[in-house]
């Protein structure tokens, strides 16, 4: 009994208090995943909301608008509705005196609403036959933790939404690769003989090629749809998985319990599904930790070239590409997405290393 269970996932034993790099990277990953999942709900911005008055704002903890922004916004509104404005008051609500040659149409006050800096204005007093208006204008406080991009969208929300996409693609594409690889490898290993040799020869042939080119060709041919991206990535990244599973299957099918199942008349499909594949789960999980960062990197690579995720949706690759274009002057556009991508990749990498090391010899 114990013998047949020796292939149970050994990887989780590695998560012991003594293995601190593994612990740290697991916590970082959990934090990033949680942030990406919940952050956009509480950031107060939508990922595609455009603030025309806040283009390429620098990252800061304090709320906008500041005094200078208010002054320039008031000046521009005064020009637009052709009045003279004297503003006073600190804090959340500003008292403004509007003065003009002709009576002021109260409807022009909508200009304040349309600005991203103010909430709707209230008329406090009217004087001089409508040529003078005293109004209270509450300030609209907004925080752009990571600043905004060239279109005036909140970078914090966009980075987190991008994280959702990148992580989702990473997991889904890995799942596609897993499905293809496990099926292919298990069949090859179980069939053995000439079928095995032929199937593995095919893997070897494709193995030497630069996959990116094929992902790009696939994306180019079938369109730049979100689902197709991870299908395409999954379709090229299953080779290692197939090799690992095939190797495991070769040894597992020698075991007594497989012979017993065969003797009881189980079909090959049932044997693979019930007895062989569950016993390969240890190495599969260990390899997944290597595969997921590779897939995330591949997706961001394709997206960077403009062939992946399309606007207004975004992924870390798209954001980094955006940052690289605006590098002169607005470095925050590059730094934040690059930081998130880099930390995630490093954490996954450390995780994979830890699992591989805990398993003893390497995965291949």
């Amino acid at each position: 009994m114990d013998k047949s269970r020796s292939e149970a996932p050994p990887s989780f034993a590695a998560v012991s208090p003594r293995n601190w790099p593994l612990q740290v990277s697991l916590s970082i990953l959990a934090a990033i995943a949680l942030l990406c999942l919940l952050g956009p709900l509480v950031s107060g911005h939508s990922y595609d909301q455009v603030y025309r008055d806040y283009v390429l704002v620098r990252p800061s903890l304090s709320a906008h608008p500041d005094a200078a922004e208010v002054d320039s916004a008031i000046a521009s509104i005064a020009r637009r509705i052709r009045v003279q404005i004297t503003a006073s008051g600190e804090g959340e609500t500003m008292r403004m005196i509007l003065h003009a040659e002709k009576p002021i149409d109260p409807r022009t006050l909508r200009t304040f609403e349309r600005s991203d800096l103010f909430l709707p204005a209230r008329i406090a007093a009217t004087g001089d036959e409508g040529r003078e208006l005293a109004i209270d204008v509450p300030l609209q406080r907004t925080v752009f933790l990571f600043g905004t991009d060239a279109n005036g969208r909140d970078l914090f929300t966009r980075v987190l939404i991008a994280g959702r996409i990148s992580l989702a693609v990473g997991l889904l594409a890995s799942f596609v690769a897993l499905t293809i690889g496990v099926t292919y490898g298990a069949i090859a290993g179980y069939a053995g003989g000439r079928v095995d040799a032929l199937m593995m020869r095919a893997v070897e042939i494709v193995y030497a090629l630069p996959f990116i080119f094929f992902v790009i060709v696939l994306v180019m041919v079938f369109g730049r749809h979100f689902v197709l991206i991870f299908a395409a990535i999954g379709a090229v990244e299953w080779l290692d998985m197939a090799r690992i599973v095939r190797g495991q299957t070769l040894s597992i099918k020698q075991r007594d319990f497989v012979a017993a199942a065969e003797a009881l008349g189980a079909t090959p499909g049932a044997i693979l599904w019930r007895h062989v594949i569950p016993n390969t789960s240890g190495p599969i999980i260990a390899y997944l930790t290597v595969l997921v960062p590779r897939v995330i990197l591949l997706e961001s690579f394709v997206s960077f070239l403009g062939l992946g995720v399309q606007e207004p949706l975004t992924s870390w690759g798209v954001l980094v590409a955006d940052g690289a274009r605006n590098i002169q002057g607005s470095i925050h556009l590059l730094i934040f997405p690059a930081l998130f991508l880099g930390v995630t990749l490093a954490a996954l990498q450390t995780l994979g290393d830890g699992f591989q090391r805990a398993r003893g010899a390497g995965g291949r």
Partner: protein, 309 residues
């Protein structure tokens, strides 16, 4: 050695054929053609265009036609740059990409070996952690982040190197692209090298050398030779990675090489150009793997033996 070489060539040729067939039929499956633009063409003109480019023939006939012209070394006309053939575009682009790739590989091999050697020689905690850290950074910071950062640092802040362009291959224009391409490979090679050296240094024959009182450099030269095979066998993958990276690097630095044509071609649905790139890249990777296999056989007698020589 000859038989070994011939078997490897014999497996490479069908591989190349599969790739050509795969990419050809994939392209033809694609919805939308190269002549779809916002302005609809006059039907007769469209018909003529399709006729000229032989797009109106049966698929298999198109494939054989393509194979025949490939055999003549002709990759066909570019569908996007209509005044050029793919061959003409590649005639200027290929040397540029080869220069970049070769320099990056050379840098990666030399620097990676040196770093790995350093890591193995400095026995303690520092060397190990340094290599580990460097390799994680090298893997976690993708090429398309490194490139803009280098542009910012050396180009915009320090003003010592140009941020982009090729300028007929002036050395200043080559430094940053080559560095960007080489950095991740340096990290990986250093790590592999260090692991292989540590492995070798613990072997009995190394202990014997040390027991005989051989000088340190003598021991390391012996260890290096024994540690080379795993590093050399990685080089095939490294070449593929450098080729992949060059797509990004050429796009970011504005270098008129193969990678940039590939991206333009993919964005503009230029079938012949993209297929041409895929074929050239695949051929390059296969060729490089062949060389790697030969070097491995030369380094390690066991490989030759297993190959039946």
């Amino acid at each position: 050695m000859l038989r070994f070489f011939l078997t490897r060539v014999a497996t490479a040729i069908p591989t190349l054929f599969v790739i050509i067939a795969l990419s050809f039929f994939l392209m033809r499956l694609a919805p939308g053609g190269p002549f779809d633009s916002a302005r609809t063409l006059d039907p007769s003109i469209a018909e003529n265009l399709r006729h000229i480019y032989k797009l109106d023939r049966p698929l298999l006939e198109q494939f054989f036609y393509y194979l025949r012209s490939l055999a003549d070394g002709d990759l066909g006309p570019s569908l996007h740059w209509r005044d050029f053939t793919v061959n003409e575009l590649f005639a200027t682009a290929l040397p540029i990409s080869v220069t970049l790739g070769a320099k990056a590989m050379l840098t990666a091999i030399l620097a990676g070996t040196a770093l790995g050697l350093f890591g193995a020689m400095s026995k303690g905690w520092m060397g190990q952690r340094l290599i580990d850290g460097a390799s994680i950074v090298g893997i976690a910071v993708p090429v398309f982040v490194v490139a803009p950062l280098l542009q910012l640092g050396f180009g915009l802040a320090l003003h010592v190197l140009p941020v982009g362009g090729w300028d007929d291959g002036a050395w200043q224009n080559q430094v940053l692209p080559v560095a960007t391409l080489a950095l991740p490979q340096i990290a990986i090679i250093a790590r592999l090298m260090q692991a292989a050296l540590n492995d070798t240094l613990g072997k009995p024959h190394m202990r014997t050398l040390r027991a005989f009182g051989m000088p340190a450099y003598h021991i390391y030269i012996h260890a290096l030779r024994a540690a080379l095979p795993p590093v050399v066998s990685y080089l095939g993958l490294a070449a593929a990675n450098v080729l992949t990276g060059s797509v990004i690097v050429e796009t970011i630095f504005g270098i008129p090489g193969m990678g940039r044509y590939f991206v333009y071609g993919a964005l503009g649905r230029d079938y012949t150009l993209v297929m041409g790139t895929v074929i050239v890249v695949a051929a390059a990777v296969l060729l490089f793997n062949l060389i790697v296999d030969l070097v491995l056989a030369w380094l390690d007698p066991r490989v030759r033996y297993e190959a039946g020589l």
